[in-house]
């Protein structure tokens, strides 16, 4: 590892300034505002929120619907991961399942709600196919459906990743030792994955608890905390101090959840050496899980089917004649194409600058001897804890009167900070696997630190950088929670525009814009995957 140098300190200082100004300071202001009243500082705002029956009820509703969603999402995610890792299902089918389940991640959560409405509503596509209403879509059921779709992909990724560290040999050993199916399943699969399953539940819970997009579309009259927060902040009578209280209240379970996630990770088994072995064929198991996992994926994707059908019809569901009218209307409307261009700009700038910040922070953390380098880990832990809505409100409170208000810069900064953790960890993971002597070797051969980073470290972490870029881009395109409080008429992006179009019941436009986001993300993902594969082949 390398001695601290001036250029490292400069990069470190710049990063600290970024997070001091756009993470710590806004959160501090949020905390202060939550105690601020007309007569100074007190707990009056907290008391008022606590007394208000709406808020307590909404918080309880949030806990209830998030917990049920998390149980369902974790169960479904486990079934899918088990089918992929512990069966002899035809390999290409496994590949399709693995990719298809991640499709919802390419769309904003607010779109999920409209897809649910157009699928399960009285005139919905699935309702028509089945011939009857499956459930009342507004309120608890709609939220539950939306949250399950939203949290299933990340829960699956977590369990799927943990499965990679579970030695499947133990299933065979357990059988050879005479264990029955249940005992073998418990000892060789369930127990080693206990931490990951707990983690998936907590992750799904936090994501549901803090999401705004789904309640915004199918929340109906079932109040949840995220919708209440939006109402208090941007409703007819905004109350910023009470909003600050709700944001702080929202932060508590999120912080607890992140702490729990770290604790649960310790419960996972990490085998020293994992052999890639193939389990013996088992017709009932393979067929059963093949059908079940395909049904889960088809079920999830079928909700989005309407999104690909409705915009091509004159007026779904009543006039089903084929038309391109809705697309041509959107493309003819300068307003909507402008919003799409805004989204692209924000996503592009976020991914470029965000990748730079996350990579720089990881580089300093992993490959230098800077004394305070642990600060980047603290930042990553905090950005992981703070929900997008809370960060958005904190920005609103701090930058309301500043020149940053209503600019693209504030959206980009909010996204960079909000989405920082995952790309940072990606970079840390890649950089820690590299030879620790490269920088010393480079210096002995006449390089400055920057030069070795540019000539050696960067090219060898290209794969991680591409992955970080794709993560920032896709998530910037779909995020709504953070930026909903920060967009202006000039800086409106697709996700926030969808919320606006909802008021005018312009669902065809909503679906066309959602498709634009979807295909843009798909192209970026495919291009990044292609670049990564090309590098791997080389």
């Amino acid at each position: 590892m390398h001695k601290a140098k001036t250029e490292m300190r400069v990069v470190f200082a710049l990063l600290l300034l970024l997070f001091a100004g756009f993470l710590f300071l806004p959160l501090l202001v949020l905390l202060i505002r939550s105690f601020e009243t007309g007569e100074g500082f007190s707990l009056a705002n907290y008391a008022a929120v606590w007394k208000g029956r709406d808020m307590v009820g909404a918080a309880l509703n949030s806990v209830k619907v998030s917990a049920v969603s998390a149980v369902i999402a974790t169960t479904l995610a486990f079934i899918l991961a088990y089918a992929i890792h512990c069966t002899r299902i035809f390999r290409p089918i496994k590949g399709v399942l693995k990719t298809a389940i991640l499709v919802p991640m390419l769309l904003p959560t607010i779109t999920y709600g409209f897809a649910i409405m157009y699928s399960f509503g009285n005139q919905g596509l699935i309702t028509k196919l089945i011939g009857r209403n499956l459930f009342e879509i507004y309120g608890f059921n709609g939220l539950l459906t939306g949250y399950v779709i939203y949290t299933l992909p990340p829960a699956f990724l977590l369990i799927h990743n943990a499965f990679g560290y579970v030695d499947k040999k133990f299933i065979i050993v357990s059988k050879l030792m005479g264990d029955g199916t249940a005992r073998s399943f418990f000892h060789a699969v369930l127990r080693p994955l206990a931490g990951a399953l707990g983690g998936a539940f907590v992750l799904a819970f936090i994501l549901s608890f803090t999401d705004f997009g789904i309640p915004a579309s199918v929340g109906g009259t079932y109040p949840v905390i995220a919708a209440q927060l939006y109402q208090v902040m941007l409703g007819s009578i905004p109350d910023f101090n009470q909003g600050a209280v709700i944001a702080v209240v929202m932060l508590i379970p999120a912080a607890f959840g992140i702490w729990l996630l770290r604790y649960l990770d310790k419960l996972n088994f990490h085998y020293d050496k994992i052999d890639a072995i193939e389990l013996p064929k088992h017709r009932v198991r393979d067929a059963g899980l093949g059908i079940l996992s395909s049904a889960i994926v088809v079920g999830i994707l079928s909700v989005f089917a309407v999104m690909f059908v409705a915009p091509f019809m004159n007026g779904f569901p009543y006039d089903t004649a084929f038309t391109f009218k809705h697309f041509s209307d959107v493309f003819a409307s300068g307003d909507l194409t402008g919003v799409y261009k805004n989204s692209l700009w924000v996503a592009l700038l976020t991914s470029l600058l965000g990748t730079l910040a996350a990579y720089g922070a990881a580089l300093l953390n992993v490959r230098t001897k800077l004394k305070a380098k642990g600060a980047t880990d603290v930042v990553s832990m905090i950005t992981n804890t703070v929900p997008g809505m809370v960060l958005g409100i904190a920005y609103l409170l701090l930058f309301n009167g500043s020149s940053l208000k209503g600019t693209f810069a504030i959206l980009v900064l909010c996204n960079i900070v909000h989405l920082f953790t995952t790309p940072y960890l990606m970079a840390k993971n890649a950089l820690s696997k590299m030879n620790p002597s490269w920088e010393t070797t480079g210096e002995l051969l006449g390089d400055s630190w920057f030069k070795t980073v540019y000539r050696v470290v960067l090219p060898n972490s290209a794969s991680a950088i591409i992955e970080m870029f794709a993560y920032y881009f896709v998530n910037s395109m779909v995020t709504i929670s953070g930026i909903i409080f920060l967009v202006s008429a000039q800086t409106s992006v697709v996700a926030s525009k969808i919320k606006e179009l909802q008021h005018f019941a312009k669902f065809n436009e909503i679906f066309v814009l959602s498709l634009l986001i979807f295909f843009t993300n798909l192209v970026i993902k495919a291009a990044c995957d292609w670049m990564q594969r090309r590098r791997a082949v080389r």
Binding site: S437, T441, L444, V456, N460
Partner: protein
């Protein structure tokens, strides 16, 4: 000539090197020998300039280098894992430093190093395509191209096996002789140290256990540690071979 006087180093209050003194002449090979954790790698890093000494001085020729930063000492190292850059091919690794020091070595000289280390057939290969021995030779070539005043080798043979090990041993000796390059090797293997070096510095728990030529160490071990660590180990090896194959191989 490299001269270390009363070098001392502590980490978190724990002494890792204490009163290290030795001197080696130009073109000599010296091995730093000791068990794991004895402080030999720390001493290597101190000489390289990667770590600073708490006490004592490091003199090369007439120049006191104790406070001179690593980059300005003019020394170079081949790390145990070679630290080759996988995004570049073998040739690009070899000439890596020339972009920073234009004119330091002529293309003819580069070719001489390449020929000397028999690397011509491997120049266009990616690092991942090279064997352990080839990687070692590429790393040596890259270091030699930088024209170091002192060559440091950190466990140069530990990642190699059998015949390749012997060939690299000879290669290192030839480099020191051919280029009159003072060479310092870190190793934990007494056999390597005895067969490669002009002088051996044996370290135990951060202190010098013995410093001298291989013959002196074999003939007159200075203390119980040297006797146990080197002589006994060699006797056991010899006995094992004798037991297996009889007198002729022992």
């Amino acid at each position: 000539m490299l001269k270390l006087q009363h070098i001392g180093k502590q980490f978190d209050g724990k002494t890792v090197l204490d009163d290290i003194c030795f001197e080696i002449g130009t073109g000599e090979i010296m091995s730093l020998l000791g068990p794991s954790g004895s402080g030999k790698t720390t001493l290597l890093h101190l000489i390289l300039g990667l770590t600073g000494a708490d006490r004592g001085s490091i003199v090369f020729g007439d120049e006191d280098l104790t406070r001179v930063p690593m980059k300005k000492r003019g020394f170079n190292i081949v790390f145990q894992d070679f630290a080759l850059f996988p995004n570049l091919n073998a040739y690009e690794n070899i000439v890596y430093g020339l972009r920073n020091k234009k004119g330091l070595v002529s293309p003819k000289e580069v070719q001489e190093y390449i020929d000397f280390l028999e690397l011509t057939p491997h120049l266009n290969k990616k690092i991942g395509e090279l064997s352990g021995g080839q990687k070692q030779r590429v790393a040596l070539a890259r270091t030699l191209v930088a024209k170091p005043k002192l060559l440091l080798l950190d466990e140069p043979l530990s990642a190699l096996d059998g015949v390749i090990k012997e060939s690299i041993k000879q290669r290192i000796q030839s480099i020191a002789r051919e280029f009159k390059l003072t060479t310092l090797i870190v190793t934990h293997d007494p056999e390597e140290a005895l067969t490669m070096s002009d002088k051996i510095l044996i370290i135990n728990q951060g202190r010098i256990a013995q410093f001298g030529a291989p013959q002196d160490i074999i003939g007159r071990p200075a203390n119980e540690f040297v006797e146990q660590f080197i002589i006994k180990q060699l006797r056991i090896k010899r006995q094992n071979i004798f037991n297996l194959f009889g007198e002729m191989y022992a």
